[in-house]
């Protein structure tokens, strides 16, 4: 084989898990190659090996026909391999040019560098002013800085790790245009994502990993998203059924002009958030993480204080504790599974007690009924298909998807009148995500008022009855899902940031 890049029989073992098991990967020059896989399938390990961050236990790599074994990212870069990480490593207080300069192995003079940035920006449609302070840039613009930083080194192989997870649909479209431009010039691109639709529009070849092994190499455009998802998961599963069309009902959970100050320097303040959800409705709150999602969830749950008005069944909630809110029938499921929704070093039985004491009456006069709690935990496990050896397992022993099914199931099994979930399927495998979405839809169809805060726009379009967008701590007017377009949502997501908005409509993810 005379591909541009070849990885053969790559293996890497961590304690207790084989992260990569004889993985093969080959990329042509000018190809945009997708690397697909669930969380924990070994994608990151493989990429770290290619970028010189990890040595493989076994296997070899060839780059341009030459034996390639980078000992460090610096060596990888010297060989023409560059990587844009999912989490940026930029200094907020420095300018674009300064940030790019510190990342370079031997930077040119400042004026030459700035000219270079300008030129690359023009050539690849990545407009950015080199003298701007990074702290003032939007997330999409920061990503451009990262990409330009990579392009400065003239990479022959560019690795992009989940690049669109932080972008609005418009920004994603712009990024795809840039990537196509690069590929037409012969740059090989390894594109990592779990968003199947965007891979289907962008890539002609995909390597699919599951539990550290390559399970399939295929053309994603000749497969349906469902087929790809099943390849990733390794079994067939049902997608969540469509939402039930909701009639206009009386508001059950209602916020009017809800505001709260940021708890920390890096937190986001909420200002004037208003929404209302009725019985049987699912309100989707879209937006890129870090725009007040955590704060909104905490204000509704009762973990944070706020001013304004928050009413549930007509009762004023502000000033009521989290347990009082639970007793009233308002339950919440936070974003982080370990350490917030669940205590990692505690058994599932103990974790079942964590939020269910009030509604399930699991204690009497302070004495915990462990038998009843255990039965409750078992019912969650069977009802939501949690794969686990038993209720005595520690929460940390569960995979992300299984634990998420457990913590969301814990709230749903209490049959709440209203449920607020934050990022319910974040980092969860596709099969578990489908089960969770279905459970949320079922809860609403039984009359529950559901609020889903999620970064995953496809998820919200799939199951919510109305959608609002949270951006910089402000919530847009909720609109019926049938009356709002992806484009509109994208504008709302990015609009307040002041970032450039692409003119073309959603071509990427339909």
């Amino acid at each position: 084989m005379a591909r541009f890049f070849d990885a053969e029989e790559i293996s890497k073992t961590y304690p207790g898990v084989k992260a990569n098991d004889r993985v093969k990967l080959s990329i042509d020059s000018g190809e945009i190659h997708a690397l697909l896989g669930e969380n924990g399938s070994g994608k990151s390990t493989l990429v770290k090996i290619i970028y010189g961050l990890l040595p493989p236990d076994e296997g070899k790599m060839l780059l341009n026909g030459q034996f390639y074994s980078p000992q460090s990212p610096r060596q990888a870069r010297a060989n023409g391999v560059a990587m844009v990480f999912q989490h940026f490593s930029l200094f907020e207080a420095m300018t674009v040019a300064e940030n790019i300069e510190v990342g370079m192995d031997d930077p040119p003079s400042r004026s030459k560098l700035e000219a270079n940035i300008d030129q690359i920006g023009k050539q690849y449609r990545l407009p950015i002013f080199p003298k701007r302070i990074v702290g003032d840039l939007s997330v999409g613009e920061r990503q451009r800085v990262e990409i330009i930083r990579c392009l400065m080194q003239n990479p022959k192989l560019l690795i992009m790790d989940e690049p669109t997870s932080v972008l609005t649909p418009q920004e994603a479209d712009q990024l795809f245009a840039t990537l196509r431009e690069l590929s037409s010039e012969g740059t090989a691109i390894l594109y990592i994502s779990h968003k199947l639709e965007e891979i289907r529009t962008l890539c002609k070849r995909a390597t699919i990993l599951r539990t550290g092994r390559v399970v399939n190499v295929c053309n994603p455009q000749s497969r349906s998203a469902q087929e790809l998802a099943e390849l990733m998961v390794g079994s067939s599963f049902a997608m969540a059924s469509k939402r039930t069309p909701s009639e206009v009902s009386e508001p059950l959970l209602q916020a009017v002009n809800l505001s709260c100050k940021a708890a920390t320097e890096f937190g986001v303040s909420l200002s004037g958030v208003s929404f209302s959800v009725g019985k049987g409705e699912i309100l989707g709150i879209a937006g890129i993480a870090g725009n007040g999602q955590k704060e909104l969830a905490a204000v509704i749950s009762g973990e944070a204080t706020a001013v304004g008005s928050l009413r549930f069944r007509g009762i004023d909630l502000l000033g009521k504790s989290i347990t009082e809110r639970r007793s009233l029938g308002l339950l919440t499921a936070p974003e982080e599974r370990l350490g917030h929704s669940a205590a990692s070093e505690m058994s599932l039985t103990e974790n079942a007690f964590l939020t269910a004491d009030q509604r399930m009456v699991l204690s009497k006069k302070g004495v915990i009924d462990w038998k009843k709690t255990k039965e409750f935990a078992l019912s969650i496990i069977s009802q939501f298909d949690v794969r686990v050896t038993g209720v005595d397992s520690h929460a940390r022993a569960l995979s992300g998807g299984n634990l998420q099914k457990f913590v969301i199931g814990r709230e749903i099994a209490q049959i709440p009148e209203s449920l607020v979930v934050n990022q319910p399927t974040w980092g969860v495998d596709a099969a578990a995500a489908a089960i969770i979405r279905q459970a949320l839809v079922d809860l609403a169809s039984k009359g529950g008022a559901v609020v889903i805060i999620s970064q995953d726009l496809d998820e919200l379009l799939e199951i919510s009855s109305s959608i609002a967008v949270l951006s910089c701590g402000k919530l847009s007017q909720p609109k019926n899902t049938n009356d709002i377009t992806r484009n509109e949502i994208g504008l709302l997501m990015g609009g307040v940031h002041g970032s450039t908005i692409g003119s073309e409509t959603s071509g990427a993810a339909a």
Binding site: E303, I322, E336, S341, A342, V367, S393, H394, A397
Partner: protein, 361 residues
């Protein structure tokens, strides 16, 4: 090459085996040390561990002494362990012990020479309150101003020691004591004394209370919401908040509770084995109890066992000191080894050691 690997689940075998293996390692290393300084290791170890319990000539004296020493250690350690489980680090039990004793003593002396039934219960109450109040200070400073409770509680030990010196030389000094420092002797004041319940056994009310504390703490941790909340707070503060726990309130409760139990221990010590308030009333039970709490893995039953073991090494050490002329430093080193091995081996419950031949990369 040796490699350490985190275990996916804590090893149940090692949780049980650690204390046994640690004691064995201590016997071997300690024996080697005794041999090195020219003392027959078998005899030394036998004197420390065996004689106090089973030697008919010695156990009559040693057994009651073990209970007398173990009772305050266990009582204090139980209180501390509940806070430790919630990551609330009260290391000032020594101060709370002193303040409990002073408060109880002051109440008792206020009634002198009246003899009625209610004096002793009042003194118990005063002991609890005195210790709890001394624990409340770091609790309030932590919850209101974010002060570190480790530092504050520790520094309050020194304040309490000076206060003890002041009252033993000042207002609580025995007026009939010919000017000697120290209070009246409570053993000679019937209504305020805590004598042996059964002569020659060492069992006084403090021993009974220590046993009660172990049972109640076990029930709380196992079956009660309070125990659950304490554990949850220690494992994840955010999950605890999410569950509905008010961490500030829990901090106050835990520090007051551990303070109260330390104060109670001080009260029983004052009215029983010690007899009087004096400058050297406190003998570091409050600090040793921290070790006992950890030796017992913060578990009430474990703490009871650790308290008894600790007391045994003290009494056995004393015996070895005057019977074999073992230097006291050697005994302290021996006790240190026991701690060292216990804590070092605890590592094995969460990590696994692998032998691996390193291959060339």
């Amino acid at each position: 090459m040796l490699q350490l690997e985190p275990r996916l689940e804590n090893s149940r075998i090692w949780i049980v085996a650690t204390p046994v293996v640690a004691v064995l390692c201590t016997l071997i290393a300690g024996g080697a040390m005794f041999a090195f300084i020219g003392i027959d290791p078998i005899r030394a170890i036998q004197t420390i561990f065996w004689a106090p319990l089973f030697d008919p000539a010695l156990s009559g004296y040693a057994m009651p002494q073990i209970l007398v020493k173990a009772a305050p250690l266990i009582l204090i350690a139980i209180g501390l362990s509940i806070g430790f489980r919630a990551n609330i680090w009260n290391i000032g039990a020594e101060g709370q012990y002193i303040m409990g004793a002073i408060c109880a003593g002051a109440i008792g002396l206020a009634f002198y020479p009246l003899n009625t039934w209610y004096i002793f219960p009042l003194m118990i109450f005063a002991g609890l309150i005195g210790g709890a109040a001394w624990g409340l200070i770091p609790a309030l400073l932590k919850t209101k101003f974010g002060a570190n409770e480790i530092l504050v509680s520790l520094m309050l030990v020194y304040v309490a020691e000076h206060f003890l010196a002041s009252v033993s030389l000042g207002i609580l000094r025995n007026p009939d004591g010919a000017g000697f420092p120290g209070s009246r002797n409570f053993q000679q004041y019937e209504s305020a004394s805590n004598p042996e319940l059964i002569a020659g056994t060492g069992i006084h009310l403090g021993v009974i209370f220590a046993l009660l504390a172990v049972i109640i703490a076990y029930a709380l941790i196992r079956f009660h919401k309070f125990g659950y909340y304490v554990n949850l707070t220690g494992k994840s503060l955010r999950a605890a908040r999410f569950s509905g726990i008010n961490p500030a309130r829990l901090t106050i409760i835990c520090l007051c509770l551990s303070g109260a139990l330390a104060g109670l221990a001080g009260m029983f010590e004052l009215t029983g084995p010690a007899g009087q308030l004096s400058i050297d009333f406190n003998v570091s039970y409050g600090f040793t109890a921290i070790i006992v709490a950890f030796l017992g893995r913060l578990h009430p039953i474990g703490i009871a066992a650790a308290g008894l073991l600790m007391a045994l090494t003290y009494i056995g050490g004393e015996l070895a000191q005057f019977m074999l002329n073992l230097p006291s430093a050697a005994i302290q080193a021996f006790q240190g080894m026991l701690l060292f091995f216990l804590l070092a081996l605890e590592f094995l419950t969460t990590y696994r050691v692998r032998f691996k031949l390193k291959r060339d990369a």
